[in-house]
């Protein structure tokens, strides 16, 4: 199995706080990973370092054997928790922007996804509800044929209907050549999607393993296991 991301003893300090503390994570192609943990535990920080927004304090991270930079940004599709689209954009502007800046952006697929998500291209980004924005961000992120998808809390604040659409979309973009990394503290809805899970709290990995094996060994759902561990 090929590795797409490798983090070795990765640490990130903010003044005195250790957001990430000597984290080792390997991501292989063709799998869906969950980084689960309480808020503030370091999940977002890890994703941001992989995406190139934060620089490590210590340790190393490589994506496709390269340090975070222009190349890794071109093969990573990052979905942040924030409303990161430029406020002057309409949905069609966002589509065009992604098409212009990412060679692997599939405009056809994006348009189909917009239909599926019931979003209109002429809508201004600032007039979207939380659920609509969540669906739009996911459409943009998953319409890229990236090697690594980093989804930060894709289901937060999403209504149940949008949630089902989002889960379907994530499954749709699964490919043996790519990997998907989902960060969430809402485990119940996504646990059936996950191959492997990492439990991250206070910057450390508490537990990791194959989801099915954990179900077998512990005799409980990942959700339950999470509640036990935290």
């Amino acid at each position: 199995m090929e590795q797409i991301l490798k983090a070795t003893q990765l640490s990130k300090y903010f003044y005195q706080k250790k957001a990430l503390n000597k984290v080792d994570i390997n991501i292989e192609k063709g799998n869906i990973y969950g980084i689960l943990g309480p808020n503030g535990g370091g999940k977002s920080t890890f994703l941001k370092i992989a995406a190139g927004l934060l620089k490590p304090s210590q340790g190393e991270i490589t994506i496709d054997n390269k340090k975070p930079g222009v190349y890794t940004k071109s093969i990573i599709s990052y979905l942040p928790e924030t409303n990161y689209l430029y406020k002057w954009m309409k949905i069609k502007d966002a589509l065009n922007f992604f098409k212009d800046l990412y060679a692997d952006f599939d405009t056809e697929r994006a348009r189909e996804s917009l239909k599926f998500m019931e979003l209109e291209e002429e809508e201004k980004v600032t007039s979207l509800s939380k659920g609509m924005m969540g669906r739009l961000k996911l459409t943009l992120a998953l319409s890229r044929k990236a090697k690594l998808y980093l989804l930060d809390e894709p289901l937060n604040g999403i209504d149940p209907i949008s949630r089902e659409k989002i889960i379907t979309s994530i499954l749709d973009s699964y490919s043996e050549k790519a990997s998907i990394l989902i960060c969430s503290h809402l485990i119940y809805y996504i646990e059936k999607l996950l191959d492997y899970v990492f439990f991250l709290s206070e910057g450390r990995i508490i537990l990791s393993g194959n989801a099915e094996e954990l179900r077998n060994k512990r005799g409980m759902s990942i959700d339950k296991l999470f509640q036990e561990v935290f």
């Binding site: 063709g30 799998n31 869906i32 089902e164 889960i167 379907t168 499954l171 749709d172 699964y174 119940y188 646990e191 059936k192 999607l193 996950l194 191959d195 989801a211 099915e212 094996e213 179900r215 077998n216 005799g219 409980m220 759902s221 990942i222 959700d223 339950k224």
Partner: protein, 116 residues
């Protein structure tokens, strides 16, 4: 299909497919949905489906034609023994359940007669 997240999903999928075959929902020789199709329908990780299919192949309940897909076996024998296996489990579960309630095996048979 509702899954119990406390038990490995692939096992539940295997059970469900076996049942479908026995009751005839899946006919002998019928082509199974592709891994991706089934994953989308069940909202489950494709690798989990893959694992279930592999296990079914191993038990010779299905067979995979490379490049073409996975098919239900046409061996009547296999399906019969599958039926045996499933019915045996249902019966054993019934007996165990009734025993737990306090029924002895004799009482159990009588009660059963009443219901049939």
């Amino acid at each position: 299909m509702e899954f119990n997240n406390s038990i490995p999903i692939y096992l539940q999928i295997i059970d469900s497919i076996k049942k479908d075959i026995v009751v005839g929902k899946l006919k002998t020789g019928q082509k199974m949905p592709s891994v991706r199709e089934l994953a989308a329908i069940l909202k489950v990780n494709p690798n989990t489906i893959q694992r279930a299919y592999q296990e079914l192949d191993r038990e010779k309940i299905t067979f995979t034609k490379r490049g073409m897909g996975t098919y239900v076996t046409e061996e009547k024998k296999t399906i019969n023994s599958l039926m045996q296996e499933i019915s045996k489990k249902i019966i054993l579960d019934f007996v165990e359940g009734m025993n737990k309630l306090g029924f002895s095996n004799k009482e159990l048979i009588n009660t059963l007669k009443e219901y049939l």
